[in-house]
């Protein structure tokens, strides 16, 4: 049933009960002083996230200026070779992993609750945990630069250079650590965004009415789910090689450095679009406002977003044109690299058409958007050039490539980000930036950028390689480098001016934001800590244009859920396609637990990297306990089964099974998990194909079939036991004592399964240090062992909940989600066993 939107049929009437707004304010109030650190509201976390990401942008920018100062003149001695290596590695790593990805997720976390009309996204504590892990870990990672421990092998850390033989210190380990934090925050962000966009939209916001920015973030979040597992698996393998001498990437022992490149770039190329698409989404949101007309080609843009999302996964090997892959494979990738230009061009033409149709106001955001189009199109054109294999062979690893990807990344992401900062800054404290400063900063940034990076095309074509710390005067690159350096400092001046003006504005006192650009989207509704007073009923794609009274109605409490129906924080859950109200989702309060868990996580990895094993495990235990406490609190029975969200509308509180947001989050997490496992299987297949002639290679043996068979049977038994208890518990047939016995039996079965598998490999003499094939088998085994450990933790947690009487029909999210994890572990274990046993026989 679609809810009414005519003026006299709004969900709630006036006057509203006394104290309704005050109660909302009290429930959602942001803690003051040092207690602010326990805030979990996505709007607050989003602001912290954006500020931290911008800090990393500035820090990495300073490193860029150091590099440009070094290269300004030939034979310069400002930085020595070793320091220069650390500086360029940190510049690339920090820009890509600690600035670009986090800032796009940060802006999404800040904007989306308002844009979707939700009070908050469904997992605020997860967002807080992801942010703190990223901030603490990222800052610690950056500080390695000051003690000479920063990584120095380039931002993509190719082995063998990053292997123990050529990088014996801890520098490369710190790179792997830094990546680990962004892996955590990116996956957490993706879960939050997918579930949030699909299920917490305002009623009436059907798939066809979703703001285009939300569409982009949905596509991007799904891309993160499919892209990140490759780099998670790659970094795990590299760390295993460095820590335990498992030779995945050492050619002399059957490994292959190219395996790293496949894994890294299967993440690395989609990552470019993971960075660009959110910026494109922001552009698609801002352009209709500055042109004061609806976006042209909404449906074509959605199709183009999906197209880019798919095609971007076919481009990974275009970073590997010179590593010796077959020409046929290279040609397929080259073709895909050109095909991706089509959906990208669809978006650009839609923006131009929107500007053409509307009446454009030249403001600071407009200037940055026009700058974006100019710079990004140039970067896209050189992208098509380097997609041509023979041309790429000529310019690979030269400054032409440096110029190309800076045009794409700065053009495609940084220019839209500046436009977005100027455009959405009024949401923070109600003030806009100075137009005069904005124009000056745009001029300096645009001019400085082109002066810095256009000459690099020429120095690259003249043969200047990337990553050289100096060059000889006779090579003739001096003038181009001097121009680039002057441009870089002008660019830095423009960025400094922009940020100074932003800081000036942020120091002004708070006032209502209003709608300074006359924008059509919901984030411009009047809002407080609780977001908008009531959750709007939407009937079009541009709600604030099509229903001018909406802001007043919402602020008066005439739409859905004008107060707190459950007595706590909450938001509406709507159906994913038609956005029909389904249930009220209670949201968790502010808490220290995400911060404690994040500190524990960051300390665990940092201490482990420095070799302090015992303190590291103490911190790891702190992190796990904090997470379990947080899960304990959030899986609770609702106080009342149903609440009133409008005068004639009641909804249930919370949901179970596949209707629950936690179930969806677990499914997304398990998708990531399965894909990581698939990458380990890929490493095994790759190592098997390299073991020329005999598989297993000489000296390695498969376990006797009885052990893997027994392991599979035990895994199946464990899963059957768990499914039995889940189904019986769903009908309230099982007493708690028998339920606990079944959990313990399932746990014993899982442990036995792993023990059988382990014993089989032990008897077969598995030695992971001997050659890459054995290392790959050991990696699959270790991953399964990790899952069994997690299952044991989950089983203990369920037992504790059962003993405390908290495993009931009304609070069974823990049981349902553990069941998913249990079955996934069983299937992975069986798939691993079958692959290890059958592939050598198939290969003969």
């Amino acid at each position: 049933m679609t809810a009414p939107v005519t003026n006299d049929e709004l969900p709630n009437s006036l006057p509203r009960p006394d104290g309704e707004r005050e109660k909302l304010e009290a429930l959602w109030r942001t803690p003051r002083g040092w207690r602010f650190l326990k805030s979990v509201n996505n709007t607050n976390i989003g602001l912290l996230y954006i500020a931290t990401a911008l800090l990393f942008f500035v820090l990495a920018g300073i490193l860029a200026l150091l590099m440009r100062a070094q290269l300004a003149v030939p034979d310069n001695t400002l930085l020595d070779a070793s320091t220069y290596n650390q500086v360029f590695t940190m510049h690339g790593t920090v820009m890509m992993f600690l600035f670009a990805i986090p800032v796009v997720e940060a802006i999404a976390v800040f904007l989306l609750p308002g844009m979707l009309g939700a009070r908050d996204l469904p997992f605020p504590r997860l967002s807080a945990y992801a942010y703190w892990a990223y901030a603490i870990g990222g800052l610690a990672f950056f500080c390695t630069l000051f003690v000479g421990l920063a990584p120095d092998g380039g931002w993509f850390m190719y082995p063998p250079l990053s292997g123990k033989q050529y990088s014996p210190g801890m520098n490369a380990d710190f790179w792997l650590l830094g990546i680990g934090f962004i892996e955590i925050s990116a996956i957490a962000g993706a879960i939050e965004l997918i579930v949030g966009i699909l299920f917490t939209r305002a009623p009436g916001m059907t798939l066809g009415r979703i703001p285009i920015y939300a569409w982009t973030m949905l596509v991007v979040a799904v891309m993160i789910v499919f892209a990140f597992p490759a780099v998670i698996a790659g970094t795990a393998l590299l760390e295993l090689e460095r820590a335990f001498d498992w030779p995945f990437f050492i050619a002399e022992r059957g490994g292959d450095p190219v395996l790293w490149q496949h894994l890294f770039w299967f993440f690395g190329h989609p990552e470019v679009y993971i960075i660009f698409l959110p910026a494109a989404g922001m552009v698609s949101t801002m352009i209709p406002t500055i042109a004061q007309t609806s976006l042209v080609g909404y449906r074509a843009i959605v199709a183009a977003l999906l197209g880019v999302g798919f095609f971007s996964f076919g481009l990974w090997a275009h970073h590997m044109f010179s590593v010796g892959l077959g020409v046929m494979e290279l040609s397929f990738v080259s073709a895909a690299s050109m095909a991706v230009a089509i959906p990208t061009a669809i978006q650009i033409f839609a923006w131009i058409a929107t500007l053409w149709r509307g009446s454009v106001r030249i403001t600071t955001p407009t200037l940055f958007l026009l700058g974006f189009m100019f710079v990004f199109v140039l970067g896209g054109l050189t992208g098509v050039m380097v997609a041509v294999v023979p041309f790429d062979w000529q310019v690979h690893d030269t400054y032409f490539i440096v110029a190309h990807f800076h045009y794409v990344l700065i053009g495609g992401m940084v220019f839209p980000m500046f436009a977005a900062l100027a455009y959405w800054l009024p949401l923070v404290n109600g003030h806009t930036m100075s137009e005069r400063c904005g124009r000056w900063s745009f001029g300096l940034i645009f001019g400085g950028f082109n002066l810095a990076f256009f000459p690099m095309h020429i120095s690259g074509l003249l043969g200047m390689p990337r990553r050289v710390y100096t060059y000889d005067a006779s090579l003739g690159w001096g003038m181009w480098n001097m121009l680039s350096t002057i441009g870089a400092f002008i660019l830095a001046l423009g960025i400094a001016l922009f940020f100074l003006d932003m800081l000036r504005v942020l120091r002004k006192p708070q006032r209502p934001a209003g709608n300074p650009w006359h924008a059509p989207t919901l984030e411009w509704l009047p809002s407080e800590d609780y977001a908008s007073r009531s959750i709007p009923q939407i009937a079009s794609r541009d709600p604030l244009w099509d229903r001018p009274a909406l802001a007043d109605e919402v602020n008066a409490g005439r739409h859905w859920l004008p107060g707190s129906a459950t007595g706590g924080r909450e938001t509406l859950v709507t159906s994913p396609v038609r956005a029909l109200p389904l249930h009220v989702l209670p949201l968790p309060d502010d808490s220290w637990l995400p911060l404690i868990a994040a500190v524990g996580t960051a300390a665990f990895f940092l201490l482990l990297t420095t070799g302090s094993v015992a303190p590291a495990f103490v911190c790891g235990v702190v992190a796990v306990v904090a997470v379990l406490c947080w899960l304990w609190q959030t899986d609770r029975a609702p106080q009342v089964p149903q609440v009133k969200i409008g005068e004639h509308r009641w909804l249930p509180v919370g949901a179970r099974g596949s209707a629950s947001h936690a179930w969806w989050a677990t499914c997304i997490m398990l998708t990531v998990d399965v894909l990581i496992f698939a990458c380990f299987l890929f490493a095994y297949v790759h190592a098997s194909m390299l073991s020329s002639g005999s598989c297993p290679p000489a000296g390695a043996h498969l376990p006797a079939p009885v052990w893997p068979l027994a392991s599979c049977l035990m895994l199946l038994s464990g899963s059957c036991l768990f499914e039995m208890l889940r189904r019986q518990d769903a009908h309230l047939r099982l007493p708690q004592g028998r339920l606990r016995a079944l959990i313990m039996l399932a746990g014993i079965a899982a442990l036995a399964a792993f023990a059988f598998e382990w014993q089989g490999h032990r008897l077969a003499g598995l030695d992971p240090t001997a050659q890459a094939w054995s290392a790959a088998v050991a990696a699959i085994l270790a991953y399964q062992g990790f899952h069994i450990f997690v299952l044991m933790l989950a089983a203990a947690y369920l037992l504790a909940r059962s003993w405390k009487g908290k495993l009931t029909m009304a609070s069974r999210s823990s049981l349902d989600n553990t069941a998913l994890l249990w079955h996934c572990t069983s299937l992975q274990g069986i798939a691993g066993v079958l692959t290890i046993q059958l592939l050598p026989q198939w290969m003969g």
Binding site: L198, F199, T206, L207, G208, Y298, R299, A300, V302, A303, A304, L306, G307, F310, F311, F313, G314, G324, L325, G326, V327, M328, E329, S331, F332, V333, S334, A335, A336, M338, A339, I342, P343, I346, S575, P576, V577, R578, L580, L582, S658, A659, M689
Partner: protein, 112 residues
């Protein structure tokens, strides 16, 4: 959930999934087969690898064309999101597969 999200998503993305299947199938087959004796095997004077890839590409192109025609027939004038996105994805999928197949007109054997 009451909405049929999964079938709807599949309906819209089917042409792009077909592109992914064709692309990765062609890539993996070429990469793996070129390491085996198939690299030197010919049938009717043409490389077997090339013939397999041509058949694979033609089959994918026919499927993509069918999806495009189907999307065109199911297009609704009311401007619904799904019908437009389905058509757009079908066009992109067809172009993507055709593009991936183009190298086969120029390359006929494995070259390392």
């Amino acid at each position: 959930m009451r909405d049929r999200l999964a079938p709807l998503s599949f309906d819209a993305c089917a042409p792009l999934l077909l592109w992914a299947l064709h692309f990765f199938g062609a890539y993996v087959f070429a990469a793996a087969a070129c390491l085996t004796s198939l690299a030197d095997t010919e049938w009717m004077g043409r490389s077997v690898i090339w013939l397999v890839l041509i058949v694979w590409t033609m089959a994918a192109l026919l499927c993509a064309l069918w999806l495009l025609i189907r999307a065109g027939r199911r297009r609704r004038p009311d401007g619904r999101l799904l019908s437009g996105v389905r058509l757009g994805c079908a066009a992109l999928g067809l172009v993507g597969i055709a593009w991936t197949g183009l190298p086969l007109l120029l390359l006929s054997t494995c070259v390392a």
